[in-house]
Amino acid sequence: MIKSNTLPEYIEGYGRVIPFGEEVIKHKKANIKKAIIENYNKVVPLEKAIVKTGLQSGMTVSFHHHLRNGDCVMAQVFSEIQKMGINDLTLCVSSLSKTHDSLLEYFKNGTITKVYTTGLRSQLGHEVQNNFTLKSPVVFMTHGGRVRAIQDEDIVIDIAFIAASCCDRKGNLNGVNGPSAFGSMGYGIIDATYAKKSIAITDFLIEKMENRISIPDTMIDYIVKVDNIGDPSLISTKSTRVSNSPMTLLIAKNAADFLITGDFIKNNFTFQAGSGGISLAVVAFLQKFMITNNIQGRFASGGITKHLTEMLKENLFKSLYDVQTFSAQAVESLKQNKNHIEMSAGAYANPYNEDNISKQLDIMILSATEIDLDFNINSLTGSTGVLMGALGGAPDTASGSKLTVVVTPSMRTRIPIIVDRVNTISTPGKYIDVLVTERGICINPKRKDLTQLFSNKKLEIIQIEQLKEEVQKLTGVPSDIHAGEKIVGVVEFNDGSVVDVIRGS
């Protein structure tokens, strides 16, 4: 099996490879839009907006994924583009969900030939990996890396299509009002700032914006009113209730015990957790501890759940920094609570921003589909190498925070999660400090300080090799997966260096 460690120097359709760990010198400054007020009627039909902004074959278009699995903007736009006979486009999107299987025909017929995204799954993933439909490999970027790439002009967005749940006739946008409210516009803000032209797409057009403006009219060239930008029931897909699966609770309890025993939960701590079931349960355990011990954290950040907004209300955090909003209740909080702060992807994780939120984190909780003996984690491909996940902000926050904890079951049905070498490195092991499973807790040997700290605590710490053996005693040793030769994906770290490649099957 071809495993990821040997990177080619050059990849067709991608270019020269700077391996992760080598110095990257980029730091260009892309032009951002000047605040010019223009007085023309911006509201036009979609086709006209596309013509007016001058979209041509070979250009780059961008979208945000704040509507998540409820998004129906991308499908509408590409349907129109195809009708107009435009093809060979580069799609620069903050992420792709299962609903975007609707784009499959545009992958197949050459409307889309190159993709920048943080994740790829379902039929699109299968198509890319098995049928090699795209001309160039998909470039997987972190949320912070995407901002950097746009700022460095690695990606030049010709036209940004910005879905907005509320828009006025001048082009002031937000995501909190209207029937398809989705919350923070964190990713969209970047696209609107740097794209040559921006088209707002909305299903809720009002005369004059009366409250929040997330993206100002100076960044919007045209406005398209459609019947529907999304399905509200699918926009907030994330589970809002803490799981009662005993396994989930056990892993979460172990993680909370680790954080509490290590004295990491103290006044003014800063915290982020993924949106998975285990992470949510960790937060619930910490909530109890914080109430009992009268602890207030400085902030929680990232994707904001209903649960976190309740903790904000209970004064358990001073503020929330919200790059994407996971549920209708959290949207309501963003609207009402002045300490619930909308944050752009740049403020969140742009690596050039010394002071970004991810670099201010004390604790980051992540999940993974695989972790290896060097603590590299994989959240992009499954244990059989199939594209199924996303980088998201994990590499940004893992590298930025002082303590990064991975929470995962040690096995999923028969599949052992701890392996010699992950199929795909999504976050390099040097940024992962602790692994917490139902069977035990492992500290990355690189963190001698942590090993020392826990050497005289009651909590048992085991070696990752030992845990791997223990699990494989039950599961047996899985056979190697045979990957093909062709590189179909390139995984970038947020500085633009290459962490790994993904091969077709």
């Binding site: 009662n244 005993p246 396994m247 609770l249 056990l250 139902e438 069977r439 039950l474």
Partner: protein, 378 residues
């Protein structure tokens, strides 16, 4: 607590061996000094291990000073040392607070249930397994025990009732899998226990298991069972504990089982009293509403006030709630610690009375203090 150990081979008669056993030890350690060590170390070791297995000892430090004894002599001396150590051993067996039910036909529970750290896992062949799947559940149990270990957690199997057509096969599977504890549900007449005892003895013989190894927990689930509890206990030396099943019991009475539990107060009180009189364990009935954690804790507190410290559970989330609720208070722990320290200083293991803080302390009090300490640490 051990007697002065002999270190010199010259102090031991030829062809004899001196064995010293410390049972208050975590893990297993065998120290061998022998005149024939270069030639027979592994045989000596094996002879000791054989006895340890027979006596069901996982934790002990054994010192052997051997002057060329044959295997039978090593086994005999080891056995005597263990038995003597036991008779002077003040420690109370770690109590079973939680018995977690796992349906025996669900493979997942075999490898996941130990993570939740119950004191005991009870694999169920009875009510949680449909009639058509009894054979499947037995095969699952039998294969699972060939390849898994349970981190030293005590294992029980709830077989189908003596009157059911599944009893014999259930018992065979359980004993053949190397499991030593059986809960027999719906016990009512002493004749059932006598017959069950006979059946178990036959199967122990077939499976090459030492006669008497298998222990019985009597399941009382009916008014008749409750009425006959003393004769049920006396029916077999294998009986080590009683469990209570409240669902069937209340159904027999024709009443609803309430969260308040007044309708089962008599049964509980009677059973815990009988258990105490016969110096055996008692395990309380399950709490069925897994979402009502507050109700569970209330019931546990009520149970504790009657002198019951053990409960059957149907969900892992109840384990920590139970263990926390059973934890003694800091005051109780510090008193118990005082008593144990004083008793060790005075070395009253062979009887007698000492005073702690002006109160008389004798063996039962020391035993209770040990029980409190055992409930205190996790």
């Amino acid at each position: 607590m051990e007697s002065k150990s002999v270190q010199n081979i010259s102090d031991v008669k030829k062809s004899d061996v001196k064995v010293t056993v410390d049972l208050n030890f975590s893990g297993l350690e065998i120290e061998i000094v022998s005149s024939v060590k270069p030639l027979f170390e592994s045989q000596i070791n094996n002879a000791v291990l054989a006895v340890l297995k027979e006596e069901n000892i996982q934790n002990a430090k054994i010192s052997i000073v051997d002057n060329g004894a044959l295997d039978f002599a090593i086994r005999a001396r080891t056995k005597t040392a263990i038995q003597r150590a036991r008779s002077t051993d003040l420690s109370v067996k770690k109590p079973i607070r939680s018995m977690l039910f796992c349906p025996a036909n669900n493979p997942k529970f075999y490898h996941t249930s130990p993570y939740y750290k119950p004191d005991c896992i009870i694999f169920d062949l009875e009510d949680s397994v449909p009639i058509d799947d009894k054979d499947a559940a037995r095969n699952m149990l039998s294969e699972a025990f060939k390849s898994l270990d349970f981190d030293g957690i005590e294992i029980y199997v709830r077989v189908n009732s003596f009157k059911s057509p599944f009893f014999d096969d259930d018992i065979y599977t359980t004993i053949n899998a190397g499991i030593k504890n059986i809960r027999i549900p719906m016990c009512e007449h002493e004749s059932e226990i006598i017959e069950a005892d006979k059946k178990i003895s036959e199967i122990e013989k077939i499976c090459n298991v030492k006669l008497g190894t298998t222990k019985i927990q009597i399941g009382v689930e009916t008014p008749l069972g409750l009425l006959n509890i003393q004769s049920l206990i006396n029916a077999s030396d294998r009986v080590i504990s009683i469990s209570f099943g409240a669902e069937d019991y209340t159904a027999c009475l024709g009443v609803e089982r309430t969260k308040n539990g007044d309708e089962i107060l008599h049964a509980r009180s009677t059973l815990v009293n009988v258990a105490s009189a016969y110096n055996i364990e008692f395990t309380d009935a399950v709490w069925k509403d897994i979402n009502d954690q507050e109700g569970f804790v209330n019931e546990t507190n009520k149970m504790k006030s009657l002198g019951i410290f053990s409960k059957s559970l149907i969900h892992p989330s109840q384990i920590e709630l139970l263990h926390d609720a059973l934890k003694p208070t800091d005051q109780q722990i510090s008193n118990a610690t005082k008593i144990i320290n004083a008793s060790q200083k005075a070395n009253i293991s062979s009887g007698g009375v000492i005073a702690v803080d002006g109160n008389m302390v004798d063996m039962p009090v020391i035993k209770r203090a040990r029980k409190i300490i055992n409930l205190a640490d996790d």
